[in-house]
Subunit: 456 residues, 2 copies
Amino acid sequence: MKRIASLLFALSCNLFVLAQSADEAAIRKIYNEALANGQSYEMLRALTTKAPGRLSGSPNAAVAVEWSRHTMLQLGFDSVWLQPVMVPHWVRGKKEVAKILTKKQGAIDVNVLALGGSIGTGPQGISASVVEVKDFEELKALGEKGVKGKIVFFNRRMDPTLIQTFSAYGGAVNQRGGGTSEAAKYGAVAAIVRSMGSNPEDYAHTGGLRYAPNVGKIPAAAISTNHADLLSQLLKEEKDLQVYLATNCEILPDAPSFNVIGELRGTESPDEIIVVSGHLDSWDVGEGAHDDGSGCVQAIEVLRIFKAMGYKPKKTIRAVMYMNEENGLRGGIEYAKQVENKKEKHIAAMESDRGGFTPRGFTMSAPEDVKNKVKSWKPLLEPYGLTDFNGEGGGADIGPLAPQGIPLFGYLPDSQRYFDYHHTQEDTFDKVSKRELELGAAAMAALTFLIDSKGL
Amino acid sequence: MKRIASLLFALSCNLFVLAQSADEAAIRKIYNEALANGQSYEMLRALTTKAPGRLSGSPNAAVAVEWSRHTMLQLGFDSVWLQPVMVPHWVRGKKEVAKILTKKQGAIDVNVLALGGSIGTGPQGISASVVEVKDFEELKALGEKGVKGKIVFFNRRMDPTLIQTFSAYGGAVNQRGGGTSEAAKYGAVAAIVRSMGSNPEDYAHTGGLRYAPNVGKIPAAAISTNHADLLSQLLKEEKDLQVYLATNCEILPDAPSFNVIGELRGTESPDEIIVVSGHLDSWDVGEGAHDDGSGCVQAIEVLRIFKAMGYKPKKTIRAVMYMNEENGLRGGIEYAKQVENKKEKHIAAMESDRGGFTPRGFTMSAPEDVKNKVKSWKPLLEPYGLTDFNGEGGGADIGPLAPQGIPLFGYLPDSQRYFDYHHTQEDTFDKVSKRELELGAAAMAALTFLIDSKGL
């Protein structure tokens, strides 16, 4: 009996080792395909060339939809389709003008970008004196007396001492998202927000604002970090200087658009779906290369890699390119609604929306047992630079799936350069490293393979 | 007795926790200083602007020496001095010309760079037919019959499937280092080597060659990866095409130069020295930003951080900028010789020469107990992205210290982009991320602090 037990134990150990080495071999094959024959980089070149600045509702967003559909059809995925969704349609209009009007030095041009969703000042612009604050508490302390008729200048910087730049972003972005309405409550005529950038830069970072209900809308723009520092300095020297701001943006009626979806049908459990995804829309400035062309082409590349290496997934692997993450999240919301309506069974949803940078790991939003299962795969993933599985969260577009109890995974690349490019003219194809992008696609394919083959 | 033992145990645990949290606080302070008040980035801007292309023996190398000395003096280090060393003096001369001479398409210009240390063809150039090989075995199989009078074209690529690009480099670089003399043995008239680049690129990567003794010297150049592919393709179509190569490089007499050294004197054991270092010379093309301006400014920054945060090191912390890593290693060799001659006690030597990229960890060349001690510090370093302590090695310049039994440490940044820039016109300041560079300096300062305060 003891001998049989020993034999069984030895056998199970061997089977474990065999399974382990089969997984290792499959993951090695994924990386070989991604790095030696990868198409993610050329796909990203095509997307960013054909459809740069693909803001929701824009002609380029429509080009991106068609490019994605066509690309997945060409790659021979089992099915490719469009999921209709109505999206906000905001347009920047003619380039913004902003000047610091000083007595000593005259008018000084500064670089600004209207915030997405903002109303415009109109071509005549607004001139007003400026009050600088670091946060909503300072604003509140100033009250209507200190704010009325003025431009509120939110100038709290991203904390450079935080190692993860997303934490620094999280600590500053409420100025951009909610500051405008906070300022309007006290009678401000406009808001200028320090750009959400990690470093001293001359160019501004745009991004969405949310007007609070029941508060009058005022125009808002982001100012480059260098010019925020300049304005702050000049305000110290000349407290009553004015700023002139002219923005020409408009909110048009909602426009029809689409999420773009392609899939490889599962060979054993086709009704069980694993989503790999990114968002197809971008801001209108730059090319949306890191945010989030990278995520889109990585999602497509996961399926391409499986096909190329002859891996027949047990479950259905679905690549989703959501529309309108940047200024509405309509695509992600619509996708989740359809999953619920159609009672589709989603095993997991993964998103890449932190740029096409070198891999660090994955974030997870899932029950503890699922997290622990994924962490048990670390030895298979660590050789590929995937060492961080501690972060919480999935991604903005897959967030709406959370109420349905679907485990969510976020691809976690290194964050150091993301906020050099995020929402700026600098988010262009040449800022993406071929190998870093490919390693991200391979990382997503590796985790998808493990979820598909071993379950969660 | 049991109670006393328990008390002692509890006390020692508390002391451990206290020590641990003091270390944590010191490291946090290092990172705060590096990220909020860091000067490494502006130092690198200055070095690469004032002294780009600072090849050993060149005027710009002399500028770099003076800049380093001046910078460390300005920062108020306890002592700053120059260590004389004679260096090879190779000059590229007038820009290279290379053409593929085809019958069908005529002459096609291709981008090449003479290899460092190579003799020139002279302005009249060389035209010869070409034989392509992947390695020295193929060359040997061809023998004199297949090689004599021809240009040997070494075209083995860096293996893209290797995750660490330095491994891929290691697997290909013998073509550049030793290929030329191998080809000369069989009567070749010149060698053309595929550039050591990770990706398809139009620009060539230079780098050193070593002529074997007792073999005639022939000229050699690196060809861009794209043009290597083109040449290989054209050779398939037209086996007897010729290549024209004109290089104008010269080997001049050795020139006087210097290692540049600055130190903070230890407060408890000033005779025990910890070296932090990089190499000051670079290739003549580009600005030597990642290779290795980054390492130099990071070494200086380690000492600056200690001064700024008021940390008084127990041991002497010495920043060394070696001259001539690229084509001779004379600086590193001279430094080690002086350590031996002066019987200086070196506790550890650390080098940063893998670019100013985001941190991954440290490599080590040290006895097992020293390695284990450093690995026991991982919990202190992992929050800063330093997770990889498995690699062997220190760095080229500190290598000559190994025979003296000095533990060597190599700063290990992420390797994915290094061979996009290495030894090319593209190794410029704008390719360096401020935060990535700063995190590297902080990582080196953190490990230096631990070695200084806890010993090895």
